[in-house]
């Protein structure tokens, strides 16, 4: 289980770095486009398309991050249909079911990317081949499939489910906000005293 835990942790860090880089490219391209338009009167060539590529990477690689955070939405109104003794089995079915679906989607997405590669499909403005970008769909869903297979095998590795996860994430966010304001208050108090905190 320790190997699986380490693997999942490293996978999450890699996805986080990839998402951060893609996000910066996306936001940077759009901000540059707006600023250039304001200054020179014409926008940056291909900036929205670069932004879209960044967004696609963030969105599909982010699926794995959402899985790691346990924030994928699941309807829970039918959770009490089976008695509690079936919970461990149902948890495994939940994980393997999601993994199977994602693996299937990753497979179809790979076929689509291969088809685009063979047909030499290119994007309209930038004229770049689209198959590497399409492959992020396969990579994103593939990573989720692997993650949920491991969750299904080692239930302890599974993050809190979406409702509780959202609650915890929000609680953490609230603490960060409160914490952030504490920092701000400390800075203000320090500024009044005339030194850096």
């Amino acid at each position: 289980m320790e190997i699986a835990k380490t693997f999942l942790n490293r996978l999450r860090i890699a996805e986080q770095f990839l998402c951060f880089t893609a996000f910066m490219v996306m936001a940077g391209a759009l901000i540059y486009d707006v600023l250039k338009r304001e200054i020179t009167g014409s926008g940056a060539f291909g900036a929205p398309q670069v932004g879209v590529i960044g967004m696609i990477v963030v969105s599909y690689i982010g699926i794995g991050l959402a899985s790691a955070a346990g924030t994928h939405y699941r309807p829970r109104f039918a959770d009490k249909v089976f008695p509690p003794r079936f919970d461990p089995l149902l948890k495994r079915i939940e994980e393997f079911g999601f993994a199977a679906f994602c693996a299937f989607l990753a497979f179809v997405a790979t076929k689509v990317a291969i088809e685009s590669y063979e047909l030499k499909d290119v994007a309209p403005v930038l004229r770049n081949p689209i198959w590497p970008v399409q492959m992020t769909i396969a990579l994103g869903f593939g990573s989720v499939a692997i993650r949920h297979v491991l969750y299904g095998i080692f239930l302890e590795l599974k993050p809190k489910p979406s409702g509780e996860g959202a609650e915890l994430a929000s609680e953490q966010q609230a603490q960060e906000i409160i914490h952030g304001h504490d920092d701000y208050d400390r800075e203000k108090a320090a500024a009044r005293k005339g030194h850096t905190p």
Binding site: F101, A109, Y184, E187
Partner: protein, 441 residues
């Protein structure tokens, strides 16, 4: 074969819900089945549709608005806005409650999310309201309701999603959200003033206090003006305004609020370095949170759009409209039924998912009863906004319960009067289209 599949598909979907499958799986199975059985077996079209759905620059506004809201909520903008509102509302009965609601509305004009608005304002105002003697149920209910303004006062993520799904103009949807948003704010404020008439009457206005708060928050106040003014004047598209929102958020927090610029002017590079480092950490954290949110939302969006393409191609909405108009001949009856349906849906689904799933079906029906597409989108959003306050899946209830450490019953009791007020406003929005459309037409 297709007839059997038509009967089996709902049964399979129910079985998947019982087997605890995610909404992505439910939507995905429905979409793959639709293409396999009724779309000539072309299941690769699902991924092609997903690709087309993702490859749109209008979607860029979603992560950028989420990021701008996250930066602002974790910076000092919210606190500065609250201080300004407190200075203005001090002598009015229930002044602190009114200040909270106004701060929610202004913050909603920066962020496009209900939870971000609730947390940004609530984390500061909830302890202050309790200290000022407001009942816990009222304080938490009011903050939860104020938080929902985040999705109706533009910019709004659910309105962007509705625009993407229905091809309605996102700029028009944003402008149309202003009237209902301000009406809700007015109703909340009036109610808060009446129930707290003998509570929290502060001293008269102090010019010094107002001036200080105004100077302190001038950059924070500039942000909604830039975003909304840019969209309303047609100067920015919603996507461009989202990029401007991120840029403004970073500049305001880094240069104006953390006094980074003044450090540079004074030649104090180490303090400027500290401000920049803090901003870097803030951006790393908020980008991480935004990526998680996008990762949760995007597969649903892409698959829902694929199903939308299939249903439009197969003319499913038109067939449902034809069938429905045979049973419901009055627009008011349609509005009543659709709003009751959405209220129930809102109890189980968040606004974004509900809009993605129902947008292919409901707007064409509304148009067949002579409703404007933009007006229907606003009504749908106001209705689903109520879902943030209704158990069992009311997101604001869950967030408030966790963040403010209150039990579920207290939170539910607190939001009850506000749900009543929102239902009244919903009916006004539904029956009086000019409230939404007066700024467009």
């Amino acid at each position: 074969m297709t007839a059997v599949a038509g009967i089996a598909l709902p049964i399979v979907l129910i079985a998947l819900v019982i087997l605890r499958q995610n909404i992505v799986v439910l939507l995905g199975v429905a979409t793959f089945a639709a293409y396999y059985f009724w779309g000539g077996g072309e299941i690769m079209n699902v991924v092609y549709d997903m690709w087309d759905a993702s490859n749109r620059d209008v979607l860029l506004s979603v992560p950028l608005y989420i990021l701008a809201g996250a930066i602002m909520s974790q910076g000092s903008i919210a606190e500065r806005l609250i201080n300004l509102m407190k200075a203005f509302m001090k002598p009015i009965p229930g002044g602190l409650a009114l200040a909270s609601l106004l701060a929610c509305a202004i913050f909603a004009a920066i962020s496009g999310s209900s939870i971000v608005t609730l947390l940004a304002v609530g984390s500061i105002m909830y302890p202050a309201l309790i200290k000022a003697g407001y009942p816990r149920t009222f304080a938490i209910g009011m903050l939860c309701a104020g938080g929902t303004l985040g999705i109706i006062i533009p910019p709004s993520i659910p309105l962007i999603l509705y625009g993407i799904m229905t091809q309605a103009s996102i700029a028009d949807l944003f402008i149309a959200g202003v009237g209902p948003g301000l009406t809700l704010l007015g109703v909340f404020m009036l109610y808060s003033m009446i129930v707290n008439f003998n509570r929290d009457r502060g001293t008269w206005w102090s010019l010094k206090e107002i001036t200080t708060a105004l100077v302190d928050s001038i950059w924070a106040l500039l942000t909604p003006f830039v975003i909304l003014g840019g969209i309303y004047s047609g100067y920015f598209t919603p996507t461009e305004s989202a990029a401007v929102a991120v840029l403004t958020a970073i500049l305001v927090e880094l240069l104006a609020h953390k006094h980074g610029f003044m450090h540079l002017v004074r030649g104090d590079t180490s303090r400027f370095g500290l401000s920049a480092k803090n901003m870097g950490q803030l951006i790393w954290r908020t980008v991480g949170e935004t990526s998680v949110m996008m990762g949760g939302l995007f597969p649903i969006l892409a698959i829902a759009l694929s199903l939308n393409v299939f249903m439009t191609y197969e003319q499913v909405p038109n067939q449902i409209v034809e069938w429905l108009t045979g049973y419901i001949d009055s627009k008011v009856m349609f509005l009543l039924l659709v709003n009751l349906f959405l209220l129930v849906v809102g109890c189980f689904l968040d606004a974004g998912s509900a809009i993605l799933i129902l947008s292919p079906l409901l707007p064409p029906m509304a148009q067949s009863y002579g409703m404007d597409l933009v007006h229907f989108g606003i009504m749908m959003t106001v209705n689903l906004e109520i879902g943030y306050l209704t158990p069992p899946m009311g997101l604001n209830l869950i967030v408030a319960m966790g963040a403010f450490k209150e039990d579920f019953l207290t939170v539910c009791r607190g939001v009850l009067p506000f749900i009543g007020l929102m239902i009244i406003v919903l009916w006004v929005v539904a029956l009086y289209p000019p409230l939404s459309l007066f700024l467009i037409k």
